[in-house]
Amino acid sequence: MDRQQIGLKLTVDGLNLPFQIDTFEDRLILQKAVYLAQAAGVNLGYYYHWYLHGPYSPSLTQDEYAIGYELSQDLDDSEGWKLDDESTGRLEKLKNLIPKSNRPELRRKLELLASVHFLINRRQVRQNDAREITETLKRFNKDFSEEEVQNALRELIDYGLLAA
């Protein structure tokens, strides 16, 4: 693992998520969780694009596979490494935003939070217009209601990921 991959592994560990990449759902959960960690100030250096399921980083996917391969070989280069205290604290706080629910619910929640943040952060929509955000998501066949979008906006603000 290179430094960026070690940082990634430690971040996923810090969020109490399993480093699981077997299914599309697994990979989506990791993509969106890392997106939110970066939005919270844990700088891992992954740049996200907009894909059909919201923010997505191809280089993160590559690193996920590289780490997954090493873990399958009983190698974990992140052992003995640690994140700085400030980032550890940020992940600790962010953990509360990640529901301890079943995987489909977790996926849905993370996809919504990350997508809403991305659209606002990249100036694709206005932050105060939940309807516009909902409509944009509908174009990508996402059935998030306006109420869910409003809740996501509130949570993103509460956790300091968006300015009030």
Binding site: I21, R27, G45, H53, Y69, L83, S87, F118, Q124, R139
Partner: protein, 483 residues
């Protein structure tokens, strides 16, 4: 060579790969900006010219080549009855032209400084303080993000593109931020990467290494766009597609991962990382991602060329730190790091035990003692492990499993990863299928394999260099075996 379409063109340029490329007035204005002209000072292949003397081509020519490829893709889309609004088409062309505008000096070499591990962090016995990841420090942004900052933040480009709103629309395309149109998004993501089409041919032409000569014309002539705006190839072009994938693999093996080029570039990466992170003189190496962002949005962008790094190397040659001096001298005097041992591995991805794994483990366990024994600073040993595959198989349903899937299960497949997949139109099918699902494809059979080069270099320029290198080579020659 082909001639790109030339309706209402303002100027044409002659290109060694694509022939005549007809440019529109706005594209000429963009090319004529100082921000775009900077690309003339960025070598496409970084340090490859130290081995292949004619590999001096630039991001500038590649960017115009990418535009030529986009023109052909748009032509093909229209032939397939996929209409574009004039502005949408113009923006796609500009996005192709500007897709590499954010590259760093020496490209990926500098961009990846944050990923570099230092040898003293890797070997056994490293102090815990060395094994700390500081994620509060902003990382160097990826070149696409830098590109967005330049396109929307440099006045010359904003003006040439036609204003801030238009500049953002163009940047949204090449950064793939655009969320307004799901169909357009699919077209961009599935367009088989205009980047690679051009660079394989251009790199091959410039280096004189023939492996990258893909059959671009045949690929382009067999390009199809589905009603869902997914780009793919007619199945009769399958051999050309497979050849493209093999060409990419061999260019990696022979050029991009060449032992001398890779060793020199690794020395430079290490040099930049060490200068950036130390308390003393940085010689202008940006200290973090914010410093990079400030630089590329200022007038200093014009100096952010290969010469920017050359100047750092030049100054570091006389540094007070002997490791910094050794790294800088190696590059400046073209005395490449000496390869002590290489372990080439071609294995199935699931294989848990191979020589490369033992080699890395032995290096981590024994390198510190070896460095002490020969009184060479540990930091002058470079451990590299570049890896490549012909085609990647993402975990997911196999061909047989997919055939059993229900439509709603198919929707659950990795759409995002499919964006990087190659699509083939089988027979008269309206929508294409993944190359990975073509059972008779030769390259798909290779998807279960990876190729990796494990290498240990040393930088040492003592008068007894020949003897020392021979002795070091003897010491490490059995490090690829389990003990």
């Amino acid at each position: 060579m082909v001639s790109s379409q030339h309706d209402d063109s303002a100027k044409h340029v002659v290109d060694s790969i694509h022939g005549n490329i007809h440019l529109k007035e706005r594209e000429v204005k963009v090319i004529d900006t100082p921000s775009f002209q900077r690309l003339r000072q960025l070598k496409q292949l970084a340090m490859a010219q130290l081995v292949y003397p004619t590999a001096t081509h630039t991001r500038f020519s590649h960017s115009i080549g990418a535009l030529a490829t986009m023109i052909r893709i748009l032509g093909s889309a229209e032939e397939n009855g996929i209409p574009f609004e004039p502005e949408e088409k113009e923006n796609l062309r500009l996005a192709a032209l500007l897709h590499d505008i954010g590259h760093y000096p020496y490209s990926h070499l500098m961009e990846k400084v944050d990923s570099i591990k230092l040898i003293e962090e890797e070997v056994e016995g490293a102090p815990p303080t060395a094994k700390a990841i500081d994620t509060t420090r902003s990382k160097y942004p990826e070149h696409e993000e830098v590109g967005e900052l330049i396109v929307t933040g440099q006045d010359d480009l904003v003006k040439a593109i036609g204003g801030g709103e238009r500049a953002k629309a163009v940047a949204d395309i090449f950064t793939r931020s655009k969320a307004a149109d799901a169909q357009l998004s699919k077209l961009i993501h599935s367009s088989f990467d205009i980047d690679r089409w051009d660079y394989l041919l251009r790199d091959s032409y410039a280096t004189g290494v023939p492996y990258g000569h893909i059959d671009l014309n045949y690929l382009l002539n067999n390009l199809k766009v589905s009603p869902q705006k997914v780009v793919g190839f007619s199945d009769k072009a399958l051999p050309a597609v497979e050849h493209f994938l093999l060409a990419r693999f061999f260019m990696h093996r022979v050029v991009y991962y060449h032992k001398t080029i890779y060793g020199m570039e690794e020395a430079c990466r290490q040099l930049l990382r060490r200068l950036r992170d130390r308390d003393g003189e940085h010689y202008g190496v940006p200290t973090d991602g914010e410093a990079v962002k400030n630089l590329v949005t200022s007038r200093d962008l014009r100096m952010f060329t290969d010469a920017f790094v050359d100047n750092i190397i030049q100054r570091a040659v006389d540094d007070e730190d002997s490791v910094v001096r050794a790294l800088a001298n190696s590059i400046q005097s073209r005395k490449p790091p000496v390869l002590l041992k290489k372990v080439l591995v071609c294995e199935e991805t699931e294989n848990q035990y191979h020589a490369g794994k033992w080699f890395i483990q032995n290096c981590k366990a024994k390198l510190r003692n070896l460095a002490d024994e020969f009184q060479i600073p540990l930091q002058q040993f470079l451990l590299c492990e570049p890896k490549s595959t012909i085609v990647k198989r993402h975990k997911g349903p196999t061909f047989g499993q997919a055939a059993q899937m229900k439509p709603d299960q198919i929707k659950e497949k990795a759409f995002e990863e499919e964006g990087e997949d190659i699509k083939i139109f089988v027979g008269d099918d309206e929508e294409p299928t993944s190359l990975m699902d073509i059972e008779h494809s030769l390259v798909v059979k290779y998807a279960n394999y990876f190729f990796q080069m494990f290498r240990l270099y040393v930088i040492y320029e003592g008068e007894d260099k020949e003897d020392v290198v021979t002795q070091l080579g003897d010491k490490v020659k059995s490090w690829d075996k389990a003990e």
